[in-house]
């Protein structure tokens, strides 16, 4: 059963890693959409708990991906999700960093950086909204 979950887990997080401009927190809404709404891997409460644990744990915020992977398919899921989230971006960053500094004053580089800032801001705001929604779901029965 785990093998059936590992492939989509890897696919989703590998794709997501390339769009997580603004850090892991900018990708929270998509993680929530996939894990809770689309694949039904976990509940709103479990997702919110995973986020809370990721935030209070020392280390990078991307730990939430490991927790989701662990919840979905145990240790193998944790490893697969972490590699999928970090691997493609590491390779991409390695390749881009070699040429990025060379074009420090280039107009296209400045436009890319300036253009991605508002998108990141919107995504981080969306993360807060989605997490607040998950919390509301948790506290509604009270």
């Amino acid at each position: 059963m785990n093998e059936n979950r590992l492939i989509p887990l890897f696919g989703y997080f590998a794709l997501l890693s390339l769009f997580a401009v603004g850090g892991a927190n900018a990708a929270i809404p998509e993680m929530h959409r996939i894990a809770v709404d689309v694949m039904h891997w976990m509940s709103d409460r479990q997702f919110a708990d995973s986020f809370a644990i990721a935030q209070i744990s020392p280390g990078p915020n991307v730990i939430i991906v490991t927790l989701i992977g662990y919840h979905v398919a145990g240790l193998a899921g944790a490893a697969v999700a972490t590699v999928a989230m970090c691997g493609p971006t590491c390779v991409f960053a390695f390749l881009v960093a070699r040429t990025w500094d060379r074009f420090k004053e280039a107009r296209w580089r400045i436009a890319i950086q300036a253009g991605l800032v508002p998108v990141s801001l919107g995504l981080i705001g969306a993360s807060a909204f989605v997490l607040a929604g998950a919390q509301t779901t948790i506290f509604m029965p009270l």
Binding site: L16, V21, R33, R107, G115, P118, V119, L123, G125
Partner: protein, 50 residues
């Protein structure tokens, strides 16, 4: 965090941020789709308005 957007008079930037927020949080569209639409527009506006 958003203050530099206004200080630098990038009048289009708040609109892009709001569009990203609405698309992902309210409409719950897939992030890759929203990103693929908004990022090129935002970069093009940054290129033109600079």
């Amino acid at each position: 965090m958003a203050a530099p957007l206004f200080r630098n008079r990038r009048d289009w930037a708040p609109l892009i941020a709001i569009a990203a927020f609405v698309g992902v949080a309210i409409m719950q569209w897939p992030l890759p789709l929203v990103f693929a639409v908004l990022a090129p527009i935002s970069i093009a506006l940054a290129w033109i308005r600079r």
